[in-house]
């Protein structure tokens, strides 16, 4: 745009110069014509002495005055070369003085004197000089006019070209902008469509997920209901074991005792042994049922959480087991043990079970070593009961904590095989783990962990 503006300015300037040039050329022609009028009027007056010729002479002089002033102005503005103008004006002034002198001589009646001046050729020389001077100036001006004209033409062409180029550029820009905008509009439409589609897909997926979630919820609810039913069933089973199975068992046990009482004295040793075997089996089954019920209760009952001092609890457990240690030489090593948050009765049962095991399986050691200690592992509390007893084969380590799993013959070490299963259940209820290490005849170590947040 600046280019177009500049080109426009150049064109305007050229036109203005052109007009000035034209004015100067006319001015020069006017001066020439006025001088010629004055000279011809002078000649007429000199030859005829008729005053009628003085009127055009005066008019020419009057015309000259503003024309000369215009020349000065043009020279001052730089439109005409100053020296040439000065020279011209000097010549004109001389010429006008010569005319004025001859006119005055004629008026005074000295026709001969006036004509003598004319004949001297000085006037003609002046006129020639002026004419030549004017012609020169005119030629210069005409040349300059042509130049300016050409320049103006070129400027106009340039301006037109610039306008055209600019218009073309504008068109190109408009086309580009149009394409950009329409592309933008298209893109927006596509994006909106895309958005709408993706929104639709999203809603579809949300509703799908919602449906899936609802289905999962229904499944979960039904699973929960099944679980609740299974729990109810388990409780019913526990109750049944506790009541319905124990009653006939008690009857077997009772009537075999009565039988033994009534006919025992008359029975031979073989039959008596059979009767006693039945009695013992019933008693054993009774204690198995009792242990099972204890285990099921551990799994079901809510934890009665209090602050438990494991050190005190271990001492209590040792006193509780005093009857099992009479006549035994045992080196106890207890503690240090921390205070924890948990179910006092259950934890006590776990510790009693572990210590009871240790006492049992060190029966053939003299002295027996039983250690109950604790350490920190990854923030958790790990308690352990270590002994120098019968130990076990590590390949059966997993079986140790199973229900009714025993690694020793009942003849060697009595027990129902429920103790460690109870320990595991109790520790699981407290969020901990149980494991064991051992070696046949080299002792065993039983571990249980309690999570860090239970440590007080």
């Amino acid at each position: 745009m600046a280019v177009v503006y500049w080109i426009g300015r150049v064109a305007l300037e050229s036109n203005r110069r052109l007009a000035t040039q034209r004015g100067i050329i006319q001015l020069l022609q006017s001066v020439d014509s006025s001088l010629k009028d004055a000279e011809s009027a002078q000649r007429g007056y000199l030859l005829t002495a008729e005053p009628v010729y003085l009127a055009p002479y005066d008019k020419a002089l009057r015309d000259l005055t503003p024309e000369l002033a215009a020349l000065d102005a043009a020279a001052n503005q730089g439109d005409l070369a100053d020296p040439e103008i000065k020279q011209l004006k000097r010549l004109i002034t001389d010429k006008l003085q010569e005319l004025d002198r001859t006119i005055k001589l004629q008026r005074a009646g000295d026709t001969e004197g006036a004509l003598a001046v004319v004949r001297s050729n000085r006037g003609k020389d002046l006129t020639d000089a002026i004419t030549s001077n004017l012609a020169g100036l005119q030629a210069i001006e005409v040349a300059e006019f042509d130049l300016a004209n050409r320049r103006a033409d070129r400027a106009t062409r340039e301006r037109n070209a610039a306008f055209f180029a600019s218009a073309c550029l504008d068109l190109v820009f408009l086309a580009w902008a149009y394409r950009r905008i329409s592309r933008e509009i298209n893109w927006r439409a596509v994006a909106q469509e895309e958005l709408r589609k993706s929104h639709g897909r999203l809603e579809e997926r949300v509703s799908e997920r919602t449906a899936a979630l609802a289905a999962a919820n229904r499944d979960l609810e039904s699973s929960n209901a099944q679980l609740a039913a299974a729990n109810k069933e388990l409780e019913a089973f526990g109750y049944s074991v506790s009541h319905d199975l124990r009653a006939p068992l008690r009857h077997v046990s009772s009537y075999i005792k009565l039988l033994e009482k009534n006919i025992g004295p008359s029975l031979d040793p073989v039959n008596l042994r059979m009767v006693r075997t039945i009695s013992e089996a019933a008693r054993r089954m009774g204690s198995l049922i009792d242990d099972l019920l204890v285990l099921s209760r551990i799994g079901r009952a809510a934890l009665a959480e209090t602050n438990v001092n494991l050190m005190e609890l271990a001492e209590e457990a040792r006193k509780e087991l005093a009857s099992e240690t009479t006549g035994r030489a045992i080196n106890w090593e207890i503690g240090p043990l921390p205070q924890v948050r948990g179910d006092q009765a259950l934890l006590r049962s776990a510790v009693v079970n572990l210590l009871s095991n240790a006492i049992k399986y060190t029966r053939h050691r003299n002295p027996a070593q039983i250690e109950l200690g604790s350490r920190r592992e990854n923030g958790d509390v790990v308690c352990f009961v270590r002994d120098n007893g019968a130990g076990f084969d590590m390949q059966y380590a997993d079986k140790l904590f199973g229900v009714f799993q025993r690694l020793h013959d009942p003849g060697d070490f009595e027990g129902t095989g429920i103790g460690l299963a109870s320990v595991r259940r109790i520790i699981q209820r407290h969020g901990g783990k149980t494991w064991a290490e051992g070696q046949v005849d080299r002792g065993a170590a039983f571990y249980f962990s309690l999570p860090n947040e239970r440590l007080l």
Binding site: G238, Y239, S242, H243, D244, R246, A247, L249, R250, H251, S253, S254, Y255, K257, L258, A282, R283, G286, D290, L293, R297, A301
Partner: protein, 156 residues
């Protein structure tokens, strides 16, 4: 043996073996002859409230009720509830004699106001010992609440 009229022991038990074994145990202390036996909870309630087949029973409350929990028709806990809800009969000593060691049964029984809860031992000798001591204590040693011949009468 005693000057005052012999007060009965009511045994509510559905299992004939248990009835026989219990009577056997009470016989050890010569208490068997004063035992009245009912075979379910409905019968127990009729006996205690003197209605139905027991409408004409003499109006003397038993010294103690030995109550099994799991019985046909009406179970022991329901019998216990109705007894303890009755203004006259609620002072009557009731002992739950059961095979159940279930915590829920224990809690419910004590909530209803049972006077003792005894789990029948599996071992016969222990069973005899427990039941005979029980009979001895409630029927002989324990002083029953003052009630006499009119207690529990006229109840519908």
């Amino acid at each position: 043996m005693k000057a005052q009229p012999l007060r009965k022991i009511l045994l509510a038990e559905d299992d004939p073996n248990d009835i026989e074994l219990t009577l056997m145990a009470l016989r050890e202390r010569h208490l068997a002859n004063q035992v009245d036996v009912v075979h379910n909870g409905a019968q127990a309630l009729e006996y205690l409230f003197r209605r139905g087949e027991y409408a004409l029973r003499p109006a003397v409350d038993p010294a103690v009720v030995l109550l099994d929990i799991k019985m046909p028709k009406v179970d022991g806990l329901e019998v216990l509830r109705q007894l303890k809800a009755d203004p006259a009969l609620r002072l009557l000593p009731v002992v739950i004699l059961t095979s159940s060691r279930e915590e829920s049964d224990l809690i419910r029984s004590y909530q209803l106001g049972v006077n003792a809860y005894v789990v029948k031992p599996v071992d016969f000798d222990q069973f005899v010992h427990a039941v005979s001591e029980l009979g001895m204590f409630w029927a002989v040693v324990n002083e029953p609440p003052p009630g006499g011949p009119t207690a529990g009468t006229g109840r519908a």
